[in-house]
Symmetry: C2
Amino acid sequence: MSVVVRSLAILGQGLIGSSITRAAGERGLAATITVTDASDKVRRRVVELGIGGARVANSNIAAVRDADLVIACVPVGQMGPLAVEIAGHLNPGAILSDVGSVKDDVVRAVAPALPAGVVFVPAHPLAGTEHSGPDHGLADMFVNRWCILTPPEGTPAAAIETVRRFWEGLGARPETMTPSHHDHVLAITSHIPHLIAFSIFHTALRFEEQTSSEVMKFSAGGFRDFTRIASSNPTMWRDIFLANKHAVLAILRQFNQDVAEIADAIEKEDGEKLFQYFSKSRITRRKVIEKEHISVVASREQRVAPLIRPYGSDD
Amino acid sequence: MSVVVRSLAILGQGLIGSSITRAAGERGLAATITVTDASDKVRRRVVELGIGGARVANSNIAAVRDADLVIACVPVGQMGPLAVEIAGHLNPGAILSDVGSVKDDVVRAVAPALPAGVVFVPAHPLAGTEHSGPDHGLADMFVNRWCILTPPEGTPAAAIETVRRFWEGLGARPETMTPSHHDHVLAITSHIPHLIAFSIFHTALRFEEQTSSEVMKFSAGGFRDFTRIASSNPTMWRDIFLANKHAVLAILRQFNQDVAEIADAIEKEDGEKLFQYFSKSRITRRKVIEKEHISVVASREQRVAPLIRPYGSDD
């Protein structure tokens, strides 16, 4: 793999930031890598682990000095303030990118803060694990995973191309879409599922408290996966829901209608309608799999066996 | 393992029925095992596979003749008609049991159909996989899994003890609760999660159709698990929702309130409330795990790596 950028800076050394550092270091994507983190403890840990052979700077400003490509790996709510902090210290011609789960809001917060000559190319790698922190980063985190680039209109093609080549260098599959389209797709594939998981976990807790039932004890099947989702990082998810408010609420309204439709069929004991509804799900999912729309994810699944094991199934 | 019953009959040779046949055969829990299935094709397949060394009868009536313990492994909607069909052919003193995901409704449908001297001891093993049919049954399906027994009031203790010993013989951990309590616990741990999964899958399909988006293509993270759940057996799930209507609708109302509470906090951009809400989920789940409430499920997880890998997490 050849060098994609001369000098790379990575701000934030959590799970994703440290994975990028590891992968970029191993694959030789940059002549020099400088990283930092807001936490002293994390910075010390990165030094101890010697992640990616990176130099560890003591501040964002020190880290970005002289960098050609700066990747911010912080919760989306911190992107605006971070841009303001580093704006005056970025190299002329530098490219700023990120890894956040929301794009429209971040573009609005970041773009106005940047000086002329600095280009923002937002990115979102669809990768991660349930763990957090620099110890859990993986050099192959992004291999065969989508990385969605959402350059605002008018972004210079050369800057987009650099970021695209960087993610290809990490093993990812870059795709490009508008920030707004990204936010709607992610609202339905990630943000709403998390909102639902948080909700049902609270419903279960309330039921357990009210009835002194041991709900958790019997939480095999579907529910256990919901509880894993519901243990995700609260800061990150608060920021995501605030930043992607409009798409999340719009799709939530649609979801509520779909739930109400099933509830109504149950209420009316309309077995035929339930059967049709559930059959459509099954048939469509099979078609989707046959089409290999999700072949990339499937390849990942060779490493991770199915967790959800519906029980009581009997045919 | 010693013989628990002289003559065992298993009606239905799907995933669960064929797993019981395999396990009972391997572990020598019965002197003779007779099985059947409504489908010719399934019966032939059981003969071909020689599952559990069982004799394959051509009808339910032929299978239950002379049996001490009859286990019905059919969708819950078929339990009432099945009881009526076999009632006049059961051995005096025979025990009838089942494996259904709903109990109250099944007890109401089955108990009145049975002659004096035949005892119904309902059971529900919390086990299964996403697969269906006799080829996918596993002899160790029930090892270290809960099996909930829900004997109606007045059930003779000796009959309960026989069923309890049978499930222990299969490697399961029997627990006893009332049919109604079972149905509420399962509504929240299994039925509502499935209802939600079916719903969000439809929401996603509608979004994909309306916007020509490739939602499935990017369905990493939480959503993909929902789609797996949503591909579950439509007949089985139709029956479950109809049979457990009251518990499902009651808990669904609570869930809708919890969703509305989060939606309201997003609408009002109440970051503090969202953070508290999400933190409670995380802290509670950790406590639950520390208490080893779900140690049995956890032991199962040593075989199945985590599937849900939230992406974008960065600390």
